[in-house]
């Protein structure tokens, strides 16, 4: 099967979602848990399967869902580069600033307490910067999944063959 790509030819990461509501031309969707979670013996205890509350928190809207109805199961895609950029923004930038601040403090003062305080400061600055950059990416629509098509009828959701 051909790898899914966006109009610009970039690879997409596929996921499954269910249509929850259609409001003012926008389609509200909820992701279908598609990992091997359903087959795991610890599924009842695991945070990844925390149920409707967790899934409700991950709902998203897409603008281009002509012909979709509530309850439809669909395939959505997110650019691979967007996923990597998002990972950098959310985790790498705050972490690197935290490390840089604490290493600099250690070189300057050489005391654990001051290094720890500088680490917290670096983490805070990194998070503020991430927030600013993430806002810009969201406004450009880079973090919004796009609708790729309806999910196949015989679709199975995970490696264990459990249906969605």
């Amino acid at each position: 099967m051909a790898e899914p790509r966006d109009p610009a030819g970039r690879s997409l990461v596929e996921g499954r979602a269910r249509v929850i509501a259609i409001e003012a031309g926008q389609v509200l969707m909820e992701p279908i848990v598609s990992s091997g979670c359903k087959g795991c013996v610890s599924a009842g205890l695991c945070g990844a399967m925390a149920g409707s509350h967790s899934l409700a928190a991950r709902r998203f809207r897409i603008p281009d869902g002509d012909g979709l109805r509530v309850g439809d199961r669909v395939v959505v895609g997110l650019g691979q580069t967007a996923l990597l950029k998002a990972s950098w923004l959310a985790y790498a930038i705050p972490l690197l600033l935290m490390l840089a601040a604490s290493v600099a403090a250690d070189r300057l003062w050489g005391r654990d307490g001051i290094s720890a305080l500088c680490a917290v400061g670096g983490l805070g600055v990194g998070m503020a910067w991430s927030r600013w950059r993430a806002g810009a990416m969201s406004r450009r629509g880079e973090l919004t999944p796009r609708y790729l098509g309806p999910a196949p009828e015989d679709d199975v959701c995970n490696d264990h063959g459990n249906g969605c």
Binding site: G47, F60, L83, S87, L99, L123, L143
Partner: protein
């Protein structure tokens, strides 16, 4: 500075958390089917592991040892890790709901990753100071992420290979992982010990 670099190389390669210490094997097998998911999981784990190392050092130094409560170490460390994961989830959601939708799925999985508890406990056992604890946690997580991405790349290639039916799926993945572990044991040759 040279000591810190040696500590980091040792934690990331020589004593790799997955292939030498055999920690975090469930995430290693579970999220390495695609390079993208492995990268996302690796970065999330790196963040949580480094922050957990810092917080557990502070807890150990300023609370457990002065009050002679070291018998509560494992329980408190588990609590701290769960709190860090929840905090990270809340912060990512606050910073950007879109980022949370994209990356939120990896965070709860980290709570059940035994390497996130193992590294802070190793920090205590090896009497690391603040900088050593933080860099050891960071480098161990980098080693974990490296293995995740390398193994995901191998599994993506394996998915296209013609594998005998008996070995298809997890069996060939385990054989590949064992060969990778053998290759990483070669790094122990560069250790001063």
């Amino acid at each position: 500075m040279q000591n810190y670099l040696l500590l980091m190389v040792g934690a990331a390669l020589v004593n790799n958390v997955v292939l030498v210490r055999f920690l975090g094997l469930c995430s290693f097998m579970g999220v390495t089917t695609k390079v993208d998911t492995a990268t996302g999981m690796g970065m999330a784990t790196t963040f949580v592991l480094t922050v957990s190392s810092v917080l557990t050092w502070a807890l150990e130094t300023f609370l457990l040892v002065p009050n002679d409560l070291t018998y509560l170490r494992t329980v408190t460390f588990i609590l701290v890790i769960a709190a860090v994961v929840q905090f990270t989830e809340m912060v990512v959601k606050k910073i950007s709901p879109a980022l949370f939708q994209t990356l939120g799925i990896y965070l709860p999985l980290i709570t059940t990753n035994c390497s996130v508890l193992g590294i802070p406990l190793l920090n205590v056992a090896q009497h690391h100071n603040f900088m050593q604890s933080m860099l050891y946690g960071f480098a161990s997580a980098l080693g974990f992420s490296l293995i995740l991405v390398v193994f995901a790349g191998l599994r993506e290639r394996l998915a296209l290979a013609e594998v005998p039916r008996l070995f298809a799926g997890p069996p060939i993945a385990f054989i590949t992982a064992s060969l990778l572990a053998l290759a990483f044991m070669g790094f122990s040759g560069i250790s001063a010990n």
